[in-house]
Every structure is written in C-alpha cells, then in structure tokens.
C-alpha cells in the first residue's frame, strides 16, 4: 500500500511538472518566460528572495503547504489567493528595476505580520 501511495504521489508530481513544462513550452514560453515556484507556509515564503531581469516575462507558481495564504506584490498590482492543494499562476513582465516587497495579505496566524519576501528586479 505504501509503495502504491509513493507511486501516486510521484505520478502526481510528475504530472504537475509535465503540466508546467507543457505550459511553458507553448505561448509565452517561446518568448523566454521564466518560471519561479514560491511555496507559502506559516509564516514564510520559500524562497523569500527572488531576483529577476527587467523585461523578462515571469510566471510565478504559488502553492500553499498548510493553509489559506495570500500573495500580494503591490508595486506590480499583483495578488492571488493560495489554497492548499492548488497552484496559482501569475504572469507579469517586470518593467522597472528595484527591490519590492511581496507579502501574505490573508491573516494566517501569529506570525502573519512577518510573512513577506523580496523581489529584486535588475537590468
């Protein structure tokens, strides 16, 4: 039974990976989209610091490992709800350089106020 479960999990991960690859191999992927997966859990984002290049299209894949979280990147007018079991995708093109804060905007507990990360956009 345990082996079956491992297989199912592995198959699921493989499917998700394949789905991601398929998406990336079509449409905007042809113009050099960069995909970044960010995991949310109480009370942190992993990775908490990401660096991207200005003008390069970005796909953020957001997942939650425990509970309902939010993702807000106000400078680029981006936000999403992140529920366990799903993957939220946000596409955008960073059109300005600088250091920007993203944070959880759904109150998730005692460390909620500390749940933030940094997006660095460089030339």
């Amino acid at each position: 039974m345990k082996n079956v479960m491992i297989f199912l999990i592995a198959a699921s991960v493989g499917y998700l990976h394949q789905e991601s690859v398929l998406r990336s191999s079509t449409g905007k992927a042809q113009s050099g989209e960069q995909t970044i997966r960010i995991s949310a859990s109480t009370f942190e984002f992993t990775p908490s610091e990401i660096t991207v290049k200005k003008g390069v299209p970005i796909v953020l894949e957001l997942i939650s490992r425990d509970r309902h979280h939010g993702f807000k990147l106000a400078e680029f007018h981006l936000r999403a709800d992140i529920e366990p079991g799903g993957t939220e995708k946000i596409r955008f093109i960073p059109d300005k350089t600088g250091t920007f804060t993203f944070f959880c905007d759904v109150f998730c507990g005692g460390g909620h106020e500390d749940m933030s990360g940094i997006l660095k956009v460089v030339e």
Partner: protein, 298 residues
C-alpha cells in the same frame, strides 16, 4: 478658568482645526460644565494583545494591561466610557486557548471603575474564526451607539481575513448614515486604517475607499483606530484619522525600515512607545481633543 477652557484657548492659538494634541496629565472639567458644554470624554485603549509572550519585546506582558486599567481608574474624573480598538488578545490556532485569553482579558477589564466599556475585534481576535469566539465574549462585530450628541459607528474590518469590510456591512453602514442628518457628529471606531497607510505592511483596509466615500457625505466625521501600534494622524479630505498606541509593543513608523518588526523593549526606557489616550469630545463644535498618555511604571 478650568482646564477645558485652557485647551480651547490653545486650540485657537494653534489654529489646528479639528484637534489639538497635548502631552501629559490633564485635570478634567467639572461635571456641571460638561453638561452645559455638552462635552464629555472617553478613553481609547488599543492592541493589548493579551496572551502575547516575548520577553525581549515586553517583559511585562502580564502586567501592562493591568497597569493601564489602574491608570484609568486613577484619573481624577472618570471617563464616560472606555473603548478598545481591537487586538484585545494575541492570536492562536488553538480554539480553547483563544477563549481562555478572551476570558482572562474580560476579567481584567471588568476592574474598570467605569462600567461602560466598548469593544471591537482586531485581526488577532477574529480573523482565524471569522469572529466566532469574539462574539461569544464581546458581542457584535459591528454596531452603533450614541453618546451626548455624537453618533459612534463601530466598523469591523478584520473578521474577513482579507481585511475587508465587505458588501453587507457596507450596505449596513450606508443605511445607518442615511438616517443621520448631514451635520451629525460622527466618530468611526475601527481597527485597521481605512486608508492605504502602508499596504506593503498590511496597514490598509481592502475596501476602505468605499467606506470613506460613504462617510464623505457628512462633514463632521472623525476616525479612531489602532492596528499600527503608534500615534498617527492623517486626513482624507475633511475626515481625520487618528491611530492609537498599543499596550503591548511598539512598531516603527510606516516605511521607515525595510521590514516591519516589533521594536524591542528598552530597559532604560521601559514602556516606551506604549500608552493610551483620552479623547475630549465637544459635540457642539465637533472637536475632539486628543491627549496621549504614557504608561507609567506603576
């Protein structure tokens, strides 16, 4: 000339319009004068976070609220009422601990001499269970009350974990405002700022603009709130917004540091940044004189 008159003179001299801010202890005007002038005063306490434990932030976390209650009880003249603008308790995932903290908080504030105490939730009290436990202990999440010619509106912008007032409450607010005369003296009490003070720090209300739009129809509106753990004053049009200090820890000024973090306790200046305020309301002139009071070592 009593102290009330002194503050009025100061108001004229300062030319500040809606409010004047004075530090230090004041002597209250007499009861008879209060009635004649239709003025009264109340005390605002905020962000007590009962249940918080962090020795580097507040080694007196078990005593700070009790000191504030004692300080209010020690005032020469008692306020007409006390209001807590949210985050009464520190949040927890544990349903039982949440209720234990609320029960302990309620026991402590039952020691006020003044028996009219108003409450509202902060996100620490109500966001994880949409206000279920809070309502068991403290009643409605939003409501109104009237006192000596002033209409108070308590707004809930926390029981939705996305920090929204929500359409239903917004309609309730609009209905309430429609029943008020345009010149009505209105004080809004809420937890989060209704304007975008620092969205990156979660210091905003998702649909705060809609609330402010509704309030703008009335020329005499003042907002008192908490959440940001510091004194702060801001105008949106003619509406003044005044944030109160916390009674557990202080936070930095909005945008002053890259990452928001609790300000550590200072052994040389204990209780620095903590405090509460008294608000003297003059209904006739729609003026609210705010007096910030530090928390003494008690």
């Amino acid at each position: 000339m009593n102290d009330l008159m002194n503050r009025r003179d100061l108001l004229k001299l300062a030319g500040m319009g809606v409010a004047v801010f004075v530090s230090g202890t004041t002597v209250r005007a007499g009861g008879a004068a209060q009635m004649k002038n239709e003025s009264f005063y109340f005390v605002q306490l905020s962000d007590t976070h009962w249940g918080f434990n962090g020795p580097n932030i507040n080694p007196d976390s078990q005593g700070t609220l009790k000191k504030a209650v004692a300080a209010v009880n020690g005032m020469d003249e008692q306020p007409d009422f006390v209001v807590f603008t949210g985050d009464l308790t520190q949040t927890t995932d544990d349903r039982k601990i949440r209720r234990d903290r609320m029960a302990e908080f309620r026991d402590i504030v039952s020691q006020f001499k003044v028996k009219t105490v108003r409450f509202m939730p902060g996100e620490h009290d109500a966001s994880l269970d949409r206000g279920e436990a809070y309502q068991e202990f403290f009643g409605d999440l939003h409501y109104t009350f009237d006192h000596n010619g002033v209409h108070f509106i308590v707004l809930d912008n926390v029981s939705d974990p996305m920090a929204a007032v929500g359409d239903k409450q917004l309609q309730w607010l609009k209905s309430d405002l429609q029943q008020m005369k345009k010149e009505a003296r209105i004080v809004v009490l809420t937890h989060r700022p209704l304007f975008d003070l620092a969205p990156d720090w979660d210091w905003a209300t998702k649909d705060g603009d809609a609330v402010i739009d509704a309030l703008m129809q009335h020329p005499n509106v003042t907002v008192l709130y908490g959440h940001i753990h510091q004194e702060h004053h801001h105008l949106t049009g003619h509406i003044a917004h005044h944030a109160a200090k916390s009674l557990m820890w202080a936070l930095p000024e909005p945008g002053s540091v890259p990452k928001k973090a609790q300000i550590p306790w200072s052994a040389s200046e204990p209780y620095k940044g903590l405090g509460f305020r008294e608000v003297e309301a003059e209904a006739a002139s729609a003026r609210y004189n705010i007096n910030e009071l530090p928390l003494s070592r008690g």
